[in-house]
């Protein structure tokens, strides 16, 4: 592309100032700004309108382009990251190149952050002037088209990942589902019943898990993690690290004879799936309905790995199937996908952080997730609700908001705890008839059938105490408190401090981002909120998209969510991914760099600076050359070139110089 290209030096500029209702107009003097814009050299027409992004607003621009023969447009409204595509579309429909547009952010960067009208208006004038000067230098640009790889990667095999994977696979696309644990199922697999319908979690989840395991369009890799991601929307190259199970998945038939035959006759190691409430052997199946139905060996527990002197009765039991392989190594699979759905879920709050509730100190203080296992028919006690000493609790206290709505730990509401606490209260009351006390700050039960479920619990005789619990202790001050755990809380409705002795305390722990959410975020080049939840592109209008095209998010990795919301979001993410893929090709922003060969001295400085090795040295002419397909448009090489021999489309030196000069030129 030549230096001056199709640059139109006879700019006829239209400036459009948006009120955004009162969002802009309440702080920026829009009429004054519009009047000022009309005086900037080159501006042929300047107009204001209530909602520039609306159809009539865009029509205004289209009409002016036609009537006044405009060839450059400035829109002063919201952030370009919000509506630049909208206005580019308006330009394109009006028959002029969409890149002959410059947006001025007078909402997020002016009216919403400043309070003084005069100052805000002055700043808006500076910004509009700069944009009007810059836009003259814009060149018509074309977007590049690249084909899209039709495969999709789903990371995380909880209910969100499962639902997304099945939705896409059912449409005939190929899905790679990568799960860190040895089985899919996620947190939902821990539950016995789901609120508010009390339907059996396993009955609705395990058929979906099995469907994933047997689906011809799904490649399921459990006990695996994404190790590296490169590429761009439509063409991601992903490396997946598959940890050794020491079992050949293709040979194991899930008979578990090896588990039976293990030299350890009883389990000795904390069973992860029962949160340590039961023991398992070194060779084990995570849980009976695990998908895939393949055992694995815990390297740290197995004698063969520790001493190499085990009798290896497991291998004997496996016999001619020969599925056990102590020499199995980690492998790396390389795949190519067009889109990615992250459904990496959450972790529960570590109740030890709130030491005053005694978790880890008093054996009869449980987390809600542990109680989910206790009430579960397939759990460590086969659904018997018993304390660690085997006794049935007569009185149970459920403490809400542990690690939620607390300025000392997490400020957010975890959204699901009220409802799951009600569910646990119901199950405990129904199964063993215990007195159940719920200690809550506020009952939060919005959702279909949720408030009705709360009403039902009130009728069932569950006690509700409104007040944050101060502490759980085992110090009796009255004979009736002997041998009990005493919950001390202010009953804010009754207006006094209560001491309620109970046998069992359940801490309704909140939801937190995964411990390595920030590493995953970096891997996929997306953003996190300050708390560590994955950041959506727009909280309302693009809730499953991210700022990285082709990467979508679903489920609790984006924020606390219950099962219906997670599934709904997973469906949305699947639809977005399919919409991307079905387009067959993707248009890439034309912000790429190119070398002006007559200026290039062949010093190769740019070659070392490019993180995408998009620049190569053409030996016969001794010049650098940018491969525009590999170039992602950061512009670092442009700033690096000592001869000013590299240009970046839409961010050319002269455009930025002009913008700076325009900003600082006095009105």
């Amino acid at each position: 592309m030549s230096d001056s290209g199709n640059r139109d030096l006879t700019a006829r500029i239209g400036v459009y100032v948006c009120h955004c209702g009162a969002n802009i107009a309440a702080i920026v003097d829009v009429p004054a700004l519009t009047e000022y814009a009309a005086t900037v050299p080159g501006v042929v027409v300047a107009r204001e309108y209530k909602y520039m992004c609306s159809d009539p607003g865009q029509e205004l621009i289209r009409q002016d382009i036609h009537d006044h023969d405009l060839n450059r447009i400035v829109v002063a409204s919201c952030s370009p990251l919000m509506h630049e595509p909208t206005f580019r579309g308006a330009l394109a429909r009006s028959g002029i190149n969409p890149f002959l547009l410059q947006m001025v952010n007078i909402r997020e960067h002016v009216s919403w952050v400043h309070t003084d009208k005069a100052e805000a208006t002055a700043k808006a004038k500076d910004l509009v002037r700069a944009a009007a000067r810059r836009v003259r230098l814009h060149k018509p640009l074309e977007k590049r088209r690249v084909e899209i790889n039709p495969n999709v990667l789903v990371v995380g095999g909880g209910i969100a990942g499962i639902h997304a994977a099945l939705t896409i696979a059912n449409s005939g696309k190929h899905v790679y589902l990568v799960e860190r644990q040895p089985t899919i199922g996620g947190h939902m697999a821990y539950f016995d019943k789901t609120f508010p319908t009390l339907d059996c979690a396993a009955c609705i989840l395990t058929p979906k898990m099995t469907a994933v395991g047997s689906h011809p369009n799904i490649t399921l890799w459990t006990y695996s993690e994404v190790a590296a991601v490169e590429g761009y929307v439509g063409n991601y190259k992903v490396k997946v690290r598959r940890k050794p199970r020491y079992i050949h998945e293709d040979l194991c038939i899930g008979c578990q004879e090896c588990v039976e035959a293990c030299v350890y006759k009883e389990g000795r190691w904390a069973d992860e799936f029962n949160l340590g409430l039961s023991k398992r052997k070194p060779i084990y199946l995570p849980f009976p309905q695990a998908v895939p139905q393949k055992v694995l060996i815990d390297r740290d527990a197995c004698i063969e790995f520790k001493s190499g002197k085990c009798k290896k009765t497991c291998i004997e039991a496996c016999g001619e199937r020969m599925a056990i392989d102590f020499a199995q190594k980690e492998t790396i699979e390389e795949i190519e996908v067009g889109g990615v759905i992250l459904a990496t879920g959450f972790k529960t709050f570590d109740a030890r952080r709130n030491a005053y509730y005694g978790y880890g100190t008093y054996p009869n203080v449980y987390t809600s997730l542990e109680v989910e296992r206790l009430v579960n028919a397939s759990g460590p006690t086969s659904g018997e609700i018993v304390l660690r000493d085997g006794k049935k609790p007569e009185r149970v206290g459920i403490i809400h908001c542990v690690g939620s709505r607390d300025h000392n730990t997490n400020r957010w509401c975890s959204k699901v705890c009220c409802m799951y606490s009600l569910k646990l209260a119901h199950l405990i009351r129904e199964r063993i008839g215990a007195e159940v006390y719920n200690f809550y700050i506020d009952m939060r039960t919005p959702g279909k059938g949720y408030e009705e479920f709360y009403d039902r619990l009130l009728d069932e005789g569950v006690h509700f105490v409104r007040g944050r619990v101060a502490e759980v202790s085992d110090w009796p001050v009255h004979p009736s408190e002997e041998g009990k755990l005493i919950i001390r809380a202010e009953d804010t409705l009754a207006g006094f401090v209560r001491r309620i002795p109970v046998d069992m305390v359940v801490l309704a722990v909140g939801l937190e981002p995964q411990a390595d959410a920030r590493d995953v975020r970096r891997l996929f080049n997306i953003s996190c909120s300050e708390e560590g939840w994955f950041l959506e592109r727009h909280p309302k209008l693009a809730p499953v998209s991210t700022f990285t095209d082709g990467v979508f998010i679903a489920g609790a990795c984006q924020g606390p969510k219950d099962i219906p919301d997670s599934v709904a979001q997973a469906g949305a993410a699947a639809a977005e991914a399919m919409a991307l893929i079905d387009a067959k090709y993707v248009e890439l922003e034309p912000y790429t760099a190119h070398v002006l060969e007559e200026e290039c001295s062949g010093c190769k400085t740019c070659l070392s600076i490019c993180p995408y090795t998009a620049i190569s040295f053409v030996a016969d002419i001794k010049k650098a050359r940018v491969n525009e397909v590999l170039c992602k448009g950061c512009g670092t090489c442009v700033a690096t070139c000592p001869s000013a021999a590299i240009e970046q489309n839409l961010f050319e030196d002269r455009e930025i110089f002009e913008e700076v000069e325009g900003l600082l030129a006095y009105a």
Partner: protein, 169 residues
């Protein structure tokens, strides 16, 4: 609002209380988004920073900074992603390297160090946009207007001729 400030364009004194004018170069992926977030969160801060959006802090040519000072900016603020978080892997490191060298050069030109800042502000740190901008504005208010020895001491390097032509259409 801009007292005792010489307009480098025409040499006239602009009367009013002195307020520093700062040019910000914000990367699209982190700091520009953080400034958007500050807006969405209705965080209030000083109106003295005029932001130029670039794709990456690595795109900021030291000449942009010099040009801003030459055109009358009292300060320049570059905002990029935190180390390790660059959308383009390492553009912010390149930015930092250039900034180190540039700072020494600015000192030689007699430009106080408070006038040039590089800050890492992630997309989630709306409040940090406020903190950085308010702090810089406060420091530059105390420092007063930028005084360059002769005007214009620094000229925009590059294809300026064409720019002039374009502007004077």
């Amino acid at each position: 609002m801009r007292k005792d400030k010489i307009n480098p364009g025409n040499g006239q004194v602009v009367v009013g209380a002195y307020e520093p004018r700062i040019v910000g170069f914000f990367c699209t992926w982190c700091t520009y988004l953080a400034a958007d977030l500050a807006g969405i969160s209705r965080i209030k801060y000083a109106p003295n920073v005029l932001v130029v959006r670039v794709m990456c802090s690595g795109r900021v040519d030291p000449q942009f900074v010099l040009a801003a000072f030459a055109q009358g900016a009292d300060g320049v603020l570059i905002g990029g992603c935190h180390p390790g978080d660059c959308h383009y892997q390492q553009g912010n490191y390149n930015c930092l390297r250039r900034a180190r060298l540039l700072k020494r050069m600015l000192a030689q030109l007699g430009i106080e160090e408070e006038r040039f800042r590089v800050e890492w502000i992630s997309a989630a740190e709306g409040d940090r946009v406020r903190a950085v901008i308010d702090d810089m504005v406060q420091k530059l208010r105390a420092l007063g207007p930028l005084k360059l020895n002769s005007e214009p001491a620094l000229k925009v390097v590059g294809a300026e001729q064409e720019v002039r032509e374009a502007v004077t259409v």
